[in-house]
C-alpha cells in the first residue's frame, strides 16, 4: 500500500511542501528507502527537496487537475528555471572576466527584426531595371522637379471633433495643404476637380466611432492609391512636453527602413507629400519610420547644442499607419487594379516575414 500510495502522495507532497513540511519529511524518508521501487522521476523529485536544482520531471505540470496545486508546482518549476539561468550567467560572466581580451564576442540576442525572412523583392541599389522602373513611375514628375506638392485633406462624411482637429493639425504639418469638409461628395467626382485645380495629393481620413482609423492617400494625376489603417493617434496637446506649434517652414523628411520594392513605392509616396526643398532654418523634421510593417509618423523640432548633442522636441500629431492595399490608378475600389493587397491569413502566418 505504501508503494501504491507513494505516486499520489509524491505529487501532493510537492505541492503541500509549503504547508505541511512535516509530512513531506516523512515522505522523503520513505522515498529514500523505496528508491529502487519508486520511479526514478519521483526519486529525483525527492532528492530535489533539499534544494538541488535537478528538476526535470517527465511529468508535465498540466496533468495536475487541482488548480492550486498546479499553480504551486508551476511556480516551483519557474523558480528552478530562474535559478539555473542565474548560475549559468554567473559562470559565463566569470569566464569572460577571466579571459579578458580573449573572451569570445557577446552573443547578439535574437529579435524578430534579426530573424526577418529575407525578402527577395528587397531593392538592390545597383539594379538597373528597378532603378528605371522607379525613375519612370508615377512620381517621376515630382522627383524631377516638375511639380510641387499640393495636398487636399478631407474626411469621411460628418466627422467628429477629434478627426477635425487631426485634419487641422495635419494641415499645419504638411506644407501647402488645404482642408475641406466632405459634405457627402463622392470621391470619384472630387478627383477630376482636384486634378483640374492642380492638386497632387488627395488625403482622406476615415473616421469610425469618433476616432480616425483609416487613411486613403491618392496621388493625383494617375497615381497609386494607398489605403492605410491608422491607429494610435495623439493630437498635439496629448503629447507630453510638446513644443510650440510648427511654423510654415518646409520640414525635412526622414524615411526609415523601406527596403523592399513595395516599401520603396510607399516611401516615394510619402516623400512626394513634402516639397523638395527643405528649409533648414525651420529645424523641423517629419519622420516616417517603418518597423515590422507599421509606419510610425513623428514630427519634431531639433536644435544642435554642439556637434555631438542634439535636442529634439516633439510637435505635431503622432500616428501609426499600416498599409492595407496599394491600387494602381486613382481611387476606384471596385474596378481598380490592385498592386498589393493585405491578405491576413496568408501574410500574417509567419511572424518573421514582412512586406514593406
Amino acid at each position: 500500500m505504501d508503494i501504491t500510495e507513494v505516486p499520489v502522495s509524491e505529487k501532493s507532497k510537492g505541492k503541500k511542501k509549503k504547508t505541511k513540511k512535516t509530512k513531506a519529511k516523512d515522505m522523503s524518508a520513505e522515498g529514500d528507502i523505496q528508491d529502487g521501487d519508486v520511479d526514478t522521476k519521483d526519486g529525483v523529485k525527492m532528492e530535489s527537496e533539499p534544494g538541488a536544482s535537478a528538476f526535470p520531471p517527465t511529468f508535465s505540470v498540466s496533468e495536475i487537475k487541482n488548480k492550486q496545486r498546479r499553480h504551486l508546482m508551476f511556480m516551483k518549476f519557474k523558480q528552478e528555471k530562474r535559478k539555473q539561468k542565474m548560475t549559468i550567467r554567473k559562470k559565463k560572466k566569470k569566464e569572460r572576466i577571466a579571459l579578458g581580451d580573449k573572451a569570445p564576442p557577446k552573443e547578439v540576442p535574437k529579435t524578430i527584426e534579426n530573424q526577418r525572412v529575407y525578402d527577395e523583392t528587397t531593392v538592390d541599389p545597383d539594379d538597373e531595371e528597378v532603378k528605371y522602373d522607379e525613375e519612370t513611375d508615377e512620381f517621376a514628375a515630382y522627383f524631377n522637379g516638375l511639380t510641387n506638392p499640393k495636398v487636399l485633406i478631407t474626411t469621411s462624411d460628418r466627422p467628429r471633433g477629434r478627426t477635425v482637429r487631426f485634419c487641422e493639425q495635419l494641415a499645419t504639418v504638411v506644407p501647402n495643404a488645404h482642408v475641406y469638409y466632405r459634405r457627402g461628395l463622392a470621391l470619384k467626382r472630387v478627383i477630376p476637380q482636384c486634378i483640374a485645380r492642380n492638386f497632387t495629393y488627395l488625403m482622406v481620413i476615415n473616421e469610425d466611432r469618433k476616432v480616425p482609423n483609416g487613411l486613403v492617400l491618392c496621388h493625383l494625376p494617375d497615381g497609386p492609391t494607398a489605403h492605410f489603417k491608422v491607429s494610435s493617434v495623439r493630437l498635439r496637446k496629448e503629447i507630453k512636453r510638446h513644443g510650440k506649434d510648427p511654423t510654415e517652414h518646409h520640414p525635412e523628411v526622414i524615411l526609415n527602413n523601406f527596403s523592399t520594392r513595395l516599401g520603396h513605392t510607399i516611401g516615394r509616396l510619402f516623400a512626394a507629400l513634402f516639397p523638395q526643398d527643405p528649409q533648414f532654418v525651420g529645424r523641423q523634421v517629419a519622420t516616417f519610420h517603418n518597423q515590422r510593417d507599421f509606419i510610425f509618423f513623428r514630427f519634431h523640432r531639433y536644435i544642435f547644442k554642439n556637434e555631438k548633442k542634439v535636442g529634439i522636441q516633439e510637435l505635431g500629431p503622432r500616428f501609426t499607419l499600416k498599409l492595407r492595399s496599394l491600387q494602381k490608378g486613382t481611387f476606384d475600389s471596385k474596378f481598380g487594379e490592385y498592386e498589393w493587397v493585405l491578405k491576413r491569413h496568408e501574410m500574417d502566418s509567419c511572424r518573421r516575414k514582412f512586406q514593406l
Binding site: 527577395e120 531595371e129 528605371y132 522602373d133 519612370t136 474596378f335 487594379e337 490592385y338 491578405k343 501574410m347
Partner: protein
Amino acid sequence: MDVWLGAETGLLKGVSVSRKQAVNFSSAGATRLSREQEVRALCWAAPGEAEVLVGQADGIVRTFSTEKGAFASSRRCGEPADGCFSGLLALGPALATCTETGAVRVWKEGEDEAATEVQAGGHVSRMRQSPVEPQRVATGGKENPLKIWDLENPDKPVFSAKNLRDTYLDLRQPHWVRDMAFLPQSDKVVTCTGYHQVHVFDPSSPRRRPVLEAVFGECPLTALSLTADGLTVAVANTQGQMALLDLRKGLVRGVLKGATGSIRALQCHPALPLIASCGLDRFLRIHSLEDRKLQHKVYLKSRLNCLLFSSSDPNAEAPPLKVKEEEEEDEVWDAMEHVHEQGGVHEEEEEVQEEDQSVDKEEEEEVQEEDQSVDKEEEEEVQEEDQSDHGPNHGPYSSSRCIGHISIATA
C-alpha cells in the same frame, strides 16, 4: 526557356524554371528600357514555338526568335493613338491585331497597310483565336458583347451574344467582357467579365444568351485560362485571387493562393497540370493544378503584362549549359598545359566569346512590349503539338524555390 513574359518597362523576359534563371531581352539597338515599348501582347508566330510575336504599346510588332535569342524583325501595325494592342494572333504568314478602340486588322506579310479591317465595337478588351479554325476570332469589351468573327467574311459577326436579361427591377445589366476562351472540343466560348461573372456561350444553339453563368469574388475578373481537358477554367481577378471553376455546374472547385496583386495573365500548360500567372505584383507564379499548391515563384522586378507558356516540361532539368561549362574547363586546362594545342584552344575560346556576346546582347536588349498575354496563352494551349523538350530529365527537382536574380545564361 519555359515561360516568356512581357513587362511594362519594355522587356521580354525568358524564364527557365528548370535552370532557375530569368533572362531579359530587349529590342535590337535599344540598350535602355523604355515605357513606350511596353509589351502588351505576346503570341507564338507559328505552331513550332520557334518565334514569338511581341506587340508593343507604340504599335510595333516585333518577332523574336527563341533559338537565336534575338529580335528578328519588326513591323508597324497601327498608331499609338489607336490604343494599345488587346489581341495579337498569327495566321500563317500574316498576323491579326486588335486595338483597344475596336479595330481588328489583318496584316499580310510585307505590306504596311492592313489587308482587312473589321470594326468590332467601341471597346475591345481581348481578342482570341479559335484553336480549331484559325479564321475565327472572338472579341469582347466594355459594353461590347461577345462577337465571333470569321476573318474571311468580315462584314458581320458569325455570332453576337445578347446581354443578360434585365434585373427584377427592370434595370439593364451592365456587362464588360474581359477575357474569353474557345472550348477545345466544341463550338462553345467561355468569357469572364468585369462584373465577376463567368459565362459560357454556345453559338450552335439558337440561344444568344449565356448557357451557363457562374460568379466568383467581388472584383473584376481579369484573366481566364482553360485547362487541357476543357472541363475546368481558371480565372483571376484584380485582387490576386485565382480560382478553378468547374464548367459542368459552374461551381468553384478551389482557389490558388499566393498572389498579392492584380493578375494580368494566366495560362495553363498545354500538356502538364500546371498553371502560370503573372501580374502587377512583379512575380511569376507556377501552381500545380492537382493539389493547387505553389510550385515556383520568380521575382521579376517589373510589372508583368502577358505571358506565354512553352510546351517544354519545366520540371525537367536542362543540361545544355553544363556542357558548355565543361568545354570551358577543358579550354582552361588545355591552355595551361599544352602550348602546341593553341590552335584548338583558340577556336574554343572564340566559340566561348561568341556565346558570351550573344548572352550580353540578350541582357542589353530589353523589350518593352507588353501585350495582353492571355490571348496568346490560350492560343498556345490550343496548339498542342509535339514540341521538343528543351532538356532531358535530370534527377529530382526541388520545387518551390524562388528564382531571384537575372543571371548570365552560361553561368
